[in-house]
Amino acid sequence: MHETAAAPAWVMLAYLISGVCFILALRGLSSPESSRRGNRFGMTGMAIALATTLVHYVPHAAPAPGLDSYVGPDWMAIGEVLVAIAIGAAIGLVMARRIAMTAMPQLVAAFHSLVGLAAVAVAAAAFLNPIAFGIADAAGVIHQVSRIEMGLGVAIGAVTFSGSVIAFLKLNGNMSGKPIILPLRHVINLGTLAVIVGLVGYFTQDQSPWIFWTVTALSFLIGFLLIIPIGGADMPVVVSMLNSYSGWAAAAMGFTLQNSAMIITGALVGSSGAILSYIMCRAMNRNFISVIAGGFGGDAIAAGAEAAIDRPWKRGSAEDAAFLMKQAELVVIAPGYGMAVAQAQHALREMADLLKKEGVTVKYAIHPVAGRMPGHMNVLLAEANVPYDEVFELEDINSEFSRADVAFVIGANDVTNPAAKTDKTSPIYGMPVLDVEKAKTVLFVKRSMGGVGYAGVDNELFYRDNTMMLLADAKKMVEEIVKAMG
């Protein structure tokens, strides 16, 4: 156990308050009304943490010879810090303002990579200058517990960084979403992991720089190796998982610095990411281990291509669709990422407005994995001014499809496939799906009959008697329907 130069009580108290603000920030997200206040709590907490650190650790200039022992603050060092914050703030604010909502998953992945790299930099700085962090004795020997914490911090930070970079490249389309499978990858990964753990253990006995830097380098490598075999379809899980890692990295650094704000935040973010990964896995009926092991998405696409067989199906026109929906009492819209890609959400909202004017009730049904990250579809609909109280989650809306006159599927595919409920041989069997086929009529907007969903399976829904296929670009089709209604 080590007692370090304990921070004064007011400093510890301030960090605690900042930690509580972060808890309230997440608590606010339980409903859209309280969410904006929650975000302000988050900013307040951050401001408190920043101000406290700046005041408490303010550097003093080296005493000049001949003067008395008191010297003023080192304005030069403070200036450098403020410039660094200003540069970061400017970049961050511009990115936040410019980013398109469809690109949120990439932005989040990019932000995760920065948290990871910052954690690595902080851990390295603490390793190079342990006395400043109060984690070493006067001779510069770092406390054993701190070495473990530091080793874990740098390892998790590095994995977060390189993993997020790969996730970013895949989401941004700079890298194919197809899994890249290396031979013997499980052996390589487990071996690398074992070496990292072993070195962190050895680090407690010997604080030589080579151990620290080898751990850092291997962790960068394993983050890269872990994410390349994971296919595009599983990216929502990966992004959530990296979210979790960035939290654990912050927590590990919090242990090193004995800072309660960092520990509380790390625990919050760590559990948040873990829970989101769990929700995503459950929504795809995959287990976490098989997602992490990777490889999904590549072979399935090949299988889907063979499954495409000629079966009768019905084609509808925009006029048919407009007529059917105007006669309806309840229309449930099931949007997917395809809608966002076609930028059809604004036209869709226009269509919904026209329907509402005709006295039709319109509801939106969101599958948890619609979109490319948790909650992505809700943001896209909110951006198109769809009121959030018309948007429902899978469990809340599924019983309503049997009452609906029309289910309007746009840009979604696998999440509506009834085979998930009936066909034990289907790769998506067991995945919770939207019961769209229970509606009187299903209108399915799709670019063409060829082509399959992300999971690479044919959709039973296309060939049902109550399904009408609307083959066109999603945005064009919706615009034509709007015209036909007017």
């Binding site: 007692e3 904006r36 900013m43 948290v115």
Partner: protein, 96 residues
């Protein structure tokens, strides 16, 4: 603080995190991710310590300054993009 006190804070915070996050509405999961991103950049505290104690170790100082820039991108970008998203969530306009 000794190690056990810190560990206690951590374990209790994990439980708090578990319950708080389950109460987040699924509609706000994307803002949840962006705001957790912003707050996990509280590691800027460590970066500030490194940068301001720089006189004794230039390497540590520059790493600290670099970490400050990265963490600030996240803090300002994360909170701003969260605010931008949350501003879009509107209720149905009731007639009359």
């Amino acid at each position: 603080m000794d190690f056990i006190s810190i560990l206690s804070i951590f374990v209790l915070a994990c439980f708090v995190g578990y319950y708080v996050v389950w109460s987040v509405t699924p509609a706000l999961h994307t803002p949840l991710m962006s705001v957790t991103n912003a707050i996990s950049s509280v590691i800027i505290v460590g970066a500030l310590i490194a940068a301001m104690a720089g006189a004794s170790s230039p390497g540590s100082k520059w790493l600290g300054l670099a970490a400050i820039v990265m963490a600030s991108v996240n803090i300002f970008g994360g909170f701003a993009v969260t605010a931008r998203m949350l501003a879009m969530y509107k209720k149905k306009e009731r007639k009359g």
